[in-house]
Amino acid sequence: MGVEYYLQQLINGICLGGMYALMSVGYSLVYSIMNFSNFAHGGVIMVGAYVGFYALTSLGLPFGMAFIVCGFGSGLLAVIIERLVYNPLRRRHAPSLYFIISAMGASIFLENFVVATIGPTPRNYPTIFANSVVKIGNLAIGLDSLLMIVVSAVSLLILMFIIQKTKIGLAIRACSYNEKASTLMGINGDLIIFIIFLMGGVLAGFAGMLYGMRYIVKPTIGAVTNKSFVAAVFGGLGSLPGAIVGSLLLGVMEIFVASWKSNLRDLFVYALLIIVLIVRPSGLMGKVTEDKA
């Protein structure tokens, strides 16, 4: 095993990490404003994977179109969930505990709705790139891996641009510091929450489609979305750069653990979660908030 082997694994890890990043920014965005872990996000990702599947097979759309439909579909779903499930709680200023429970309920609903209607059998995406590879020296990178890295990088860069450079991004950042004060300054809180759910949902759709292309579509991909949630905690819940860095690190580490002993990869991820929570619950880049009890 030479350097190439490790480089190859590193690329696989970045691939996986990029996909985690697309998922985990959704968790982080919601946490930064609303202070709860939106477990329904996993369901949105799963539905995204199915939308992509049917866009490619039943509708026979070209790949690029399917991608857009997929992002649009899950973005819409995320916004609908916010309207129907979280909005009534928000109006009542319910404690964040209720939000988590509702999120769990929504995730159970989505997962089993798909099981009941489409069925639990896993489905394969049609082949889009017939195992074509790009060769760089001795390294062989599959076109699908390359696409994964490019899609994740571009969408994350666009997201970071929106957050850092635009007026809407400024409003989102203001809300994450202090929602009450920002609404008093004339920021429309409902609109901000609509936008973060939309952005998280669209990225979730992309992630779902990438996942489906590489692996398989099934209703219980919760194991993967849970890992992306771990990545968000690892990077620091509520911090966007944290979520991205955490996801990439987790992806690379997971691949290396898997290449060493494949049955330990899931255990490693959860062990890491526990260690992070013990040593530094605010994660790599999370802000350490003073607890107001």
Binding site: N35, F36, S37, L84, V85, P88, L89, A94, S96, L97, Y98, I100, I101, S102, M104, G105, A106, S107, I108, F109, L110, E111, N112, F113, V115, A116, G222, N226, F229, V230, V233, L237, N263, L264, D266, L267, Y270, A271, L273, I274, L277, I278, P281, D291, A293
Partner: protein, 302 residues
């Protein structure tokens, strides 16, 4: 429906109730939320089976050891994580629950102890567990547990825990050692979960790590919410109803969990306090209510 069938549902309700009761104390009285109690049930189940099948210990002792092991692990977890607030505690329990399942997924034991062959094979688990949880035994354990819990919650300690749920900062100012009471709730709930695991293993007759997925933890939590957090009678009602419901609705099959999810969302919006709303169903209160009803009527007549 034969009695045998109903008995099965009742035994299932009994060990589920053990977990739900513990969780109800943890959530309802301290506001902490666990998404990993299936992990503690898993620990209890495996330890109890190792005790009975491996070491040939009697069933009762095995249950006790199972409960205590789960409690010790729960206490260790509590020591580390109880300082974390809300969400982070919930995430930590989620991690531990999954980690426990994955550890048992990777453990392989194949030995002969005292001339008995004992095989624990990772994801395949353990089979041929002796069926020792009869309805009588299960009911007796549950009755004892419910009574003990009721006594505890009606004591000074119960009121202290209630104070923590209502306002942690105020409780601390009033001189209540909040950490100690959270720890007590954590120990109680994991002890119950461990015993429940032992009961479950000796009722179903086989064990597989996949029986203790996160969905299971969520289901326990849903039962607590459905019945009303912190209400013992609520827990009993919620558990028995939600255990029996899927059996009655066998015909709808896959749609069962769809309605579960929907029900949780609706409960949170419409009646977040659950069926009993933190109140207890008590005989004396019932008579008071009846008397009030009659008085009201008489006033109306006059």
């Amino acid at each position: 429906m034969s009695w045998y069938y109903i008995q099965g549902i009742l035994i299932q309700s009994c060990y589920t109730l053990m977990v739900v009761l513990g969780l109800s104390v943890l959530t309802g009285y301290t506001g902490l939320f666990s998404f990993g109690h299936a992990g503690f049930v898993c620990i209890g189940a495996y330890i109890s089976v190792i005790c009975t099948m491996g070491f040939g210990l009697p069933y009762g002792v095995a249950l006790l050891i199972a409960g205590l092991t789960a409690m010790i692990i729960g206490a260790l977890l509590g020591r580390i994580t109880l300082k974390l607030k809300g969400d982070y505690f919930c995430i930590a329990t989620l991690g531990v629950g999954e980690a426990v399942r994955l550890i048992f997924n990777n453990v392989r034991i194949d030995t002969v102890i005292n001339g008995r062959k004992f095989v624990l094979d990772g994801a395949k688990g353990i089979s041929n567990v002796p069926l020792k949880t009869s309805f009588g035994v299960a009911l007796a354990i549950v009755v004892v547990t419910v009574t003990a819990t009721a006594f505890l919650l009606n004591s000074k300690h119960g009121r202290n825990m209630l104070a923590i749920r209502e306002d942690e900062l105020a409780a601390q100012m009033a001189g209540i050692d909040t950490f100690r009471y959270k720890m007590l709730a954590m120990c109680m709930s994991t002890l119950y979960a461990g015993i429940a695991g032992g009961m479950l293993a000796h009722y179903i007759g086989y064990l597989q790590p996949n029986m203790f997925q996160m969905v299971k933890s969520t289901e326990y939590t849903i039962m607590v919410i459905f019945g009303g957090m912190g209400s013992i009678t609520g827990s009993v009602l919620g558990t028995v109803l939600l255990c029996a419901l899927p059996e009655l609705l066998r015909a709808i099959g896959d749609w069962r969990l769809v309605f579960y999810g929907l029900a949780v969302i609706i409960i949170m919006i419409v009646r977040p306090k659950g069926l009993m709303g933190g109140k207890e169903l008590r005989v004396d209160l019932f008579f008071q209510w009846l008397a009030g009803l009659f008085k009201g009527k008489r006033k109306g007549a006059a």
